[in-house]
Symmetry: C2
Subunit: 318 residues, 2 copies
């Protein structure tokens, strides 16, 4: 038996599986990303999800634990997580890059591309079942073009500029003001309150405004359309940086901005990403991929049949 988990920014999910890919247990808990949630809270979340997944199994039946996590791991995190799993009678987890797990949630093939656009944006070329080249993922200040932060930041600037009389009026203004509970009139007071409210929050929280851009573009707002067109171009550029001739795909896509934003929106945005439909695989998280990595780590050959069974099994419990 194996435990495979995906420790995401808003939730953590774990499954227990056997060598044939049958799903024997499932657990879900809160945010498990040690960078955004903090090490202690992340360890609590991962521990809870794993404990639920183990459930009726006995710990000595578990051969290995694979957990997908974003970013570089600190020693504090690995130590505290090992301690928590040890209390469940489990060995320390093998930590896997979330981008690789996400890729393998979409395919059992060992080669292709993966791109995530949620709060941040990152893409990778995968070869021999490992990350071969990664671009992006440099955070809100220095990178993450086309991401939720990037879009939300532009939304906020466009609204401030519109209220200031510099930029064009936009349907984003009432949406943003309503979100923050600020009265639209008088405009001078609205812009002062808006500026003050936004500087009072962490910059990365601007990502919360990204869904407003997708809502406004659905209502044909030209300012939102421009922001999303530039965001799509940035994501297409990110992907093109790691594309190489002779490696066709698949291209596995994840993250709220891609999945619930761009890919659920008007077709022209999908086209701008330059992805033929037959190549693109959309996934909601990295749980299936973490399971693929756990099995592969134990020498199990994950073929198409095993992979499809695993995917159906995880979909059935989650």
């Amino acid at each position: 038996m194996f435990i495979a988990g995906d420790a995401g920014g808003t939730s953590t999910r774990a499954v227990a599986i056997d060598r044939a890919g049958n799903v024997l247990g499932y657990g879900r808990s809160g945010g498990g990303n040690p960078t955004s949630a903090g090490v202690a809270a992340a360890v609590v979340s991962i521990g809870a999800a794993v404990e639920s997944a183990v459930n009726r199994l006995t710990a000595d039946e578990v051969e290995a634990v694979a957990i997908a996590v974003a970013g570089e791991q600190t020693e504090a995190f690995t130590t505290q997580l090992a301690e928590r799993l040890g209390r469940l009678g489990l060995r320390p987890a093998v930590l896997q890059p979330d981008l690789l797990a996400m890729f393998h949630s979409g395919t059992h093939r060992p080669e292709g591309y993966g791109m995530i656009a949620g709060t941040g944006s990152i893409a990778a070329r995968i070869r021999d079942g490992a990350l071969h080249r990664v671009v992006g993922g440099k955070g809100w200040l220095l990178g993450d073009a086309g991401s939720g932060f990037w879009i939300g930041h532009r939304v906020a600037r466009a609204v401030v500029s519109a209220l200031d009389g510099q930029g064009p009026a936009t349907a984003l203004t009432p949406l943003v003001l309503k979100t923050l509970g600020i009265a639209a009139e008088p405009a001078r007071s609205a812009v002062r309150q808006l500026v003050s409210a936004l500087y009072g929050r962490r910059p990365v929280q601007l990502a919360e405004f990204a869904p407003l851009a997708f809502a406004a573009v659905a209502a044909e707002d030209p300012v939102a359309r421009q922001i999303l067109a530039e965001g799509a171009a940035a994501l297409a550029d990110l992907l093109s940086t790691i594309r190489e001739p002779g490696l066709t795909g698949p291209v596995v896509l994840g993250g709220s901005v891609l999945v619930r934003g761009y890919l659920a929106g008007p077709a022209e945005l999908r086209d701008r990403l330059g992805l033929p439909t037959e190549e693109a695989v959309v996934v909601s998280d990295g749980v299936v991929g973490a399971a693929v990595l756990a099995l592969r780590g134990a020498g199990v050959v994950v073929d198409e049949r095993l992979f499809e069974g695993l995917r159906a099994g995880v979909a059935g419990v989650s």
Copy 2:
């Protein structure tokens, strides 16, 4: 007699003048902006500069004190400043917007435009000797397009992107790495150290990289050229927002990015700002303007002759 001062981000200057615009004293001290330096430090700086300017005069000869300061003033600042000036035997200062003082450092005329681009960017239309319409000045996160922060932020992103292999190579890379004392090779280690160093500083400190863009553009770097072209377009847009037909100028320009950057650089950047040379007046600070405002506040008519005398007098002592 009057005291007029300009409390800037890096230095504070004050002059003592008489009704005819003769300069009778001068003082200079550290940063006097209560927002960036803190209220207590700003009051110390302003107090020191004013005390030096008063010098051999007796306080009861001083009719009024005018101090130019950026941003909105808190009660703590006005109270502590009044107390400090009171200890010199002076009445509370009349606080003036730095943008208005900067404008009047360039002209005695009561109408025209002023634009500052230093760490931030802001512009105003002036009518009847007062700020009639102000745009910009919304800070690094929400505004300040074309400013030192805006340029420095793009410089940092371009260097991270170049090191990451996504963006084109640029002469900015060695300049930025040298500034931070990071070895250029291996690139993977350089980008990691760079990202870590930049997230460890306050975002607004990215403004320190703006001069590197002007240096790189002088060496024909296309990436720096693109950044500065977009910055110039943003500043031109800021100015055009407040321009109105029938009000021709003058256009008074201040701030390090405009004065030591754009206006000292290649002619094409000056052209992009859309400013005919005959209309543009470049100033280094708001001391002369604070003196104009002090005199005007006391009912003195500041004509061209008095203004030119004042300007020559301040230039002579500072």
